[in-house]
Symmetry: C3
């Protein structure tokens, strides 16, 4: 993901010694010709976000003096192919709000200081970060790791609304960490009053060529309620990346346990290989299997291989192509790029697109 | 409400003597931990707008020469906790449009000159301004005056769409005033063709420590139509603020008369007390009672006390805490921060949050 | 339509010899008092876009070196009277998404070079451009050509989502041209799998006082499907403008053939007459007739006359007034400014407004 381009110098009149402040307009426009084929139906699309999710955002930071600062981050997803916005989940129970531009990707207000960062609002969940950080395709496009695509981790697998988070400061010799508490905000006189409440923790170490991290999360859902989220969901995952210079090696393991449903187990191995000054080849194998509750129930599993190439025309603009193929077993019917495939059948797809950051 | 930060110098190529123009990106990010408790249910939330409503806006002004200027103001409400936008009322009859970012807070185009300002679009109604200007809590958060919270003033109590307004110029020795006409835009061949049409007028005087104003408004609604707005609504209110230096005293009286329903009567008294260079204590008592139509009908009434403290970390960033309690009588069931309480029972709540303007 | 005002100088730190890049915030605020009258009902509104459609947009260009550049354009329609956003059509089959701010007007990502421009996303269809370029009122407001207002050209008459377009470079001695392919993105196993797929081509010549162009488009729709678009739609149109200095003369002819429905035929003639340094008078006559399929079926037709005056207060701000009248025949019931009129009856309307670009 590219950094912002426009630092709007502000408050010039407030005196030379005053705090430096900025508001930044940023975004990504990513359009891709996307094709998917399965045994049931094929799909041809102009899609959005094959390399990085299309977005428009506004963020800023104000220096409060004494090493403190306040900052905000408003980031709206958008579909470059038809101009629509994204969806959010206002209660962490799958209650979507969509239709127009909304800051579904991130909407946070922070206080920062030597103590670290307190972050309030809608944000990525910490336990998602290992899935995306240690995926050669960064969980974007047709190559996205199957550990995310098949995940039974529920509504907070990627982001949570109503969160109160804390991030460790950046000067701990490579150690990093984050804790997050989020709320479902139900009335207190209903049976599922705690649905959507949860906690997520992540800790890691990045230094030189190495980056490793683990995460744990638990979200509460009453068993068999109407929202279809099953019962309580417990997620544990860890992963790492090692940069050998001529190749980066990535791997991750994830486990999602849903009371009453089963346990999902995911694994990924992959590489990113620089090609000349501007290119990168990406390869990955990922798999996810759901060990369902009950004797003699099938345990659907899906394997995925993905190969892609990104060519950077500049720091902000890239062209890319990705091919992927999934194999389904024991009743799984995962398909790529909005195609549909019958249980136990294959599906394949490709993206060919342009990504421009601003 | 903080002023904008970023004046984007524009039109540099148009010549030195030319008009000065600017477009400003502005906003507020306000996140608050909000708790409410009533006899029916409690609610714990990460909420938005405890001190000032969260928003994102764009505004600009163009100097037309000869003392004239054109300006626009687009201001969208947003919920910092989940990234969603606000709602508007497209016909002043309660017809909401929501789901994404919309300029529900204000969407106006103005021509300005020595004559004052002609303002077209969606805007605050003049008769709302006395409720917010003379409330120690500025009608934000759990401390908001009960004269607004219980108001039976209908869809245009705060804002109106489709308005044509006129504001007096600012050089009248402290006298200020505003008139506004707004339209419901119904077809002419329906019975309630005039629903949502209205007029609102406000006049005041601000000079040194004193600020007083009064307002009158009438909005047309056909009696007993489906939109539940009752019959014609007539609102009258006045209020004032006096700055004694060590304390600001605020007071207001409001009356909303709805044909077929009854008459609401509201009263508020409060103070704002500076504490050191960066702090402010806010206290208020407010009450609203509905004298319903008909003999032997109860006249529901609610009393509210609120106390808060705002600590400014900078001109743009503040932390704050507010506590409030309501007492219901004669069938009223007002509750705080999305809790619910039974008729004639109490409710209390608090906000604890951060407000950052940009 | 006014150009953008604010070129945000960016990437200052990236070195003097680096690419020039900019992101531009732009828009139009246009508010109009709009009245329409027909035999069934009248309508009085504060409307939006009487001279130019109200909008908010973000666009940028990045120089990639070697004559190449990447650019994006995100443009959201909005209603200045109530702050709402516009609607888009996500599948070119009339499937609307609306409610909040969405980039329904245009949402594109481009690669540009000596070869021309490759443009991906939601954009105007090439075959729409002759209708708007050769209408004295630019297809805005109550004066909009009847060749658009009565058109049976279907969902892609103005814009298409999911489009892949190519535009000729600008250095071809006055010749210009554009091709566009767009997709409905239906599943491959449904009967109407090709619905919303289409192609549109336009070529023209502009040099000195003359500008002429023709276009052809075909969009696929299965006959008698639920979306009400009829069968395949084939559109052909051409038009021109000649600038005599004291008057610009404009004309256009259009034909929309819908399998199973009939053929629409439109014609317009009009003028734009400069009045002093800042004014312009606009006059037009336009007509559209649908030759319906089947013997003894009526062929509804509507004639329109429109007259307007635009007075520019600056390059960005204008006041304007437009009057129009339509005459219906053979069952047509076209009406102006949201009034309604009975079949074969007249309707008239006017706009009186302000347009401010930023």
């Amino acid at each position: 993901m590219k950094k912002s381009l426009i630092a709007l110098a502000a408050l010039a009149a407030s005196g030379a010694a005053m705090a430096q402040s900025s508001v930044t307009l940023f975004g990504v426009a990513d359009a891709t010709f996307a094709y998917g084929t399965g045994t049931v139906s094929k799909k041809t699309q102009l899609a959005s976000g094959g390399l990085d999710g299309s977005r428009l955002g506004f963020r800023g930071v104000e220096d409060l003096g004494g090493g403190m600062s306040a900052s905000f981050h408003l980031e709206a997803g958008l579909n470059n192919d038809d101009g629509t916005g994204g969806t959010t989940d206002t209660n962490n129970q799958g209650k979507a709000a969509s239709g127009g531009l909304i800051f579904n990707r991130r909407s946070t207000l922070s206080l920062n200081g030597g103590f670290g960062e307190v972050r309030l609002g809608r944000d990525y969940t910490p336990h998602f970060k290992n899935l995306t950080a240690f995926d050669p395709f960064g969980t974007s496009g047709v190559g996205t790791t199957q550990t995310l695509k098949s995940s039974i981790g529920g509504p907070t697998t990627i982001r949570a609304s109503n969160s109160i988070g804390y991030l460790l400061p950046g000067n701990l010799g490579g150690f990093y960490g984050q804790g997050q508490f989020y709320m479902g905000e139900n009335d207190s006189n209903v049976a599922n009053k705690k649905d959507g409440n949860g906690v997520s923790l992540r800790a890691g170490y990045a230094n030189g060529p190495i980056d490793v991290a683990g995460a744990f999360a638990k979200t509460t859902y009453l068993l068999n309620t109407a929202n279809g989220t099953g019962g309580n969901i417990t997620t544990m995952n860890f992963g790492g990346k090692y940069d050998l210079g001529m190749v980066k090696i990535l791997g991750q393991y994830s486990q999602d346990k849903v009371i009453g449903t089963g346990t999902g187990k995911g694994l990924l191995g992959g590489v990113q290989i620089p090609v000349g000054p501007a290119g990168e080849v990406r390869l990955s194998f990922s798999t996810y299997k759901v060990v369902t509750v009950g004797v003699n129930t099938p345990d659907p599993a899906t394997n995925k291989i993905a190969a892609g190439y990104v060519h950077n025309l500049s720091k902000r603009t890239a062209v890319y192509g990705t091919f992927a193929n999934v194999t389904n077993k024991k009743g799984a019917e995962q398909a790529l790029n909005n195609s549909k495939t019958a249980p136990n059948k294959k599906s394949s797809g490709f993206d060919f697109g342009i990504r421009h950051s601003f």
